[in-house]
């Protein structure tokens, strides 16, 4: 009863501050005596680890029945110095928790022995989880990730990268990716260091076993402060399999087309054989009748069919070649002049004017001179034939070369017979010809193939009776990319 009437003395400010700090500090704080008893703990501790009164610290932190082998407080009691340690415990709900603890010695008398250990712990379970997740993502993501320093040395590399390129930390990226001794031209990382933007490019590298690796890389800046780019992250997708598949598909298409053309080839050869048979028959008949005119007619037929054989074999070989264009930097106008020189007299003999227009803005371009020569030859000879079939006067063939929007354009147009819709659908089909025995049916197909090998496309604009215009478009970017790839 006496105690009920007792008046509490006013609390000292220092006590108030201590109490507030003890409970509000964002740590789990506990005081342990030399016998592992928890003698005091703050609210955070109680909320996290549960009831601690009259319990041993190992029972509270880890739900154990005897002291931990690596108890940091024992160390503090022994050495009298603060230490930092991390440990894995169990919270009051039985969940495993990873925490870092700062343990301080408390002495009752200054210079006396350490009577208590003050343990301030904070949980790192969440950070830990995030780190683990990040590490798993970093290593297991199905692409290569490297972090490049300003000196182009690799400071970090994920597991996928290390598996394919080897242990590479500290090495220059250009050496690792491409076995180069100097920086790569058009390096996307260099661009990112320069302008702080994301850059993309497709590259060919070499793996640790010397194997080719095609990859599509994106470079992203890693900022230090607001505007200083300390590192660049390179994220690359391995597209080797895709590239291989692409080649396989092209090869399969090519083989398919070749297979399909064999039937057509057989047809053409058989027709030629018939022509030769016919020539032989007429010559023989002429000899029997002593008819010089007939002999001459038969002989011409033989010559014509021998020539067809040559032309068919040449076109077929050109069509079946599965090669990359042999690109050289050339002036497109030269190719046009060459064709005009070649065909001007032939056209003139048939009353056809062959003209050219070379736009003065046309710049040099990486082209396969032989390939483009073949294309222009095919288009011009077709145009001349169309003019002859049109049988009208004042016919002309025009070859133009100009610069479009980021593309180089060749155009061959005529005002000859034109092409109707049904035929237009078939002109790029193997062995399709409107010239009867005169054509092999491979010219336009070969032309389209060469144009496509240059990354370009061919367009036709024509109607029956109103001439035709064939347009070959070559995007400059693709030409340059092919040129680089070839080099």
């Amino acid at each position: 009863m006496k105690s009920n009437n007792r008046v509490n003395p006013p609390r000292r400010l220092a006590d108030m501050i201590y109490e507030e700090l003890f409970h509000q500090v964002p740590f789990n704080v506990a005081v342990i005596d030399r016998n592992y008893n928890v003698v005091e703990a703050n609210k955070n501790f109680t909320e996290y680890f549960g009831n601690w009164k009259n319990k041993k610290c190992y029972a509270v932190y880890k739900k154990l029945k005897k002291p931990c082998k690596d108890c940091p407080s024992v160390e503090v009691f022994k050495k009298g110095k603060p230490i930092v340690a991390d440990a894995v415990g169990v919270d009051q709900h039985g969940r495993k928790t990873h925490y870092v603890g700062h343990v301080f010695p408390l002495r009752i008398k200054e210079g006396g022995r350490v009577e208590y250990a003050l343990e301030m712990t904070h949980t790192v379970t969440e950070t830990d989880r995030w780190q683990q997740e990040y590490q798993i993502l970093f290593d297991r993501v199905p692409c290569y990730i490297t972090v490049i320093g300003e000196d182009y040395r690799i400071v970090r590399a994920n597991e996928a990268f290390r598996n394919n390129f080897g242990e590479v930390l500290g090495q220059h990226c250009y050496k690792v990716y491409k076995r180069r001794t100097t920086k790569c031209p058009n390096c996307p990382a260099a661009k990112t260091f320069r302008d702080g933007r994301v850059h993309h490019s497709t590259q060919l590298g070499m793996g640790k076993r010397g194997q080719d690796i095609n990859y599509a890389v994106s470079t992203t800046p890693l900022m230090r402060g607001s505007d200083n780019i300390a590192h660049v992250i390179e994220i690359s997708n391995d597209i080797t399999a895709l590239k291989k598949l692409e080649h396989q598909v092209i090869e399969a298409e090519r083989l398919g087309a070749v297979g399909q053309t064999v039937a057509g080839l057989a047809h053409s050869i058989k027709n030629i054989l018939m022509g030769l048979e016919g020539g032989k028959y007429i010559v023989s008949l002429g000899l029997n009748k002593n008819d010089k005119e007939m002999i001459s007619e038969g002989w011409e037929m033989l010559e014509r069919n021998f020539e067809k054989t040559t032309s068919l074999v040449k076109d077929f070989l050109s069509f079946s070649k599965g090669r990359l264009p042999q690109l050289k930097m050339i002036k497109p106008g030269f190719l046009v002049k060459e064709i005009v020189d070649l065909y001007k007299d032939i056209a003139a003999q048939s009353g056809i004017e062959l003209r050219s227009e070379i736009d003065k803005n046309v710049k040099s371009a990486p082209l396969d001179p032989d390939g483009i020569h073949t294309c222009l030859t095919n288009l011009v000879s077709n145009a001349i034939d169309a003019c002859l079939m049109g049988k009208q006067k004042g016919t002309e063939v025009l070859i133009k070369v100009s610069e479009g929007r980021d593309k180089l354009i060749f155009e061959v147009s005529d005002n000859g017979s034109g092409i109707d819709y049904e035929i237009k659908k078939k002109i790029f089909t193997t062995f399709f010809t409107t010239k009867g025995g005169e054509g092999t049916g491979l010219g336009l197909l070969t032309t389209r193939k060469i144009v496509q090998e240059h990354g370009g496309k061919i367009l036709v604009d024509s109607e029956k009776g109103s001439g035709a215009r064939f347009r070959m478009e070559f995007p400059r970017k693709r030409l340059m990319a092919l040129y680089k790839e070839m080099k």
Partner: protein
């Protein structure tokens, strides 16, 4: 020559029509020619030949189409036809797809054996 049998040769290869024309003429037939199926059918209806020698692969109108038209027309349906082909699968396709029309009287694969062709022509038109 007015009593001689008339043979229509339809082929887009000028050398082939020239040769067959001469071959038939030299063997007592009268020969006329056309360069595609469309022209061939018109000539067949107009000239009513005793025999048609017809190529299959031709631009504009194929021999297959012309053959169908011949068999559908009252004027020409009885004219015997010898088909010529450079490609065997093409002819096999034609045979398997011709459920509505009768088979041609004969077919020869190019290059044609002239003796065999003449013999067949003789057998068909005399």
């Amino acid at each position: 020559m007015s009593d001689s049998k008339k043979i229509l040769i339809v082929d887009d290869e000028a050398d082939i029509t020239k040769w067959l024309t001469l071959l038939f003429e030299e063997n007592g037939y009268q020969a006329i020619s056309a360069a595609d199926g469309s022209e061939g059918f018109d000539k067949a209806e107009k000239e009513l030949p005793n025999l048609i020698v017809l190529d299959i692969s031709m631009p504009v109108e194929s021999g297959v189409k012309m053959y169908r038209k011949l068999k559908e027309s009252d004027k020409t349906s009885e004219i015997p036809v010898i088909m010529l082909t450079g490609v065997t699968p093409e002819f096999e396709n034609f045979i398997s797809s011709r459920s509505q029309v009768p088979a041609p009287e004969a077919y020869f694969e190019k290059p044609v054996n002239k003796e065999a062709l003449l013999e067949k022509a003789k057998e068909l038109v005399g």
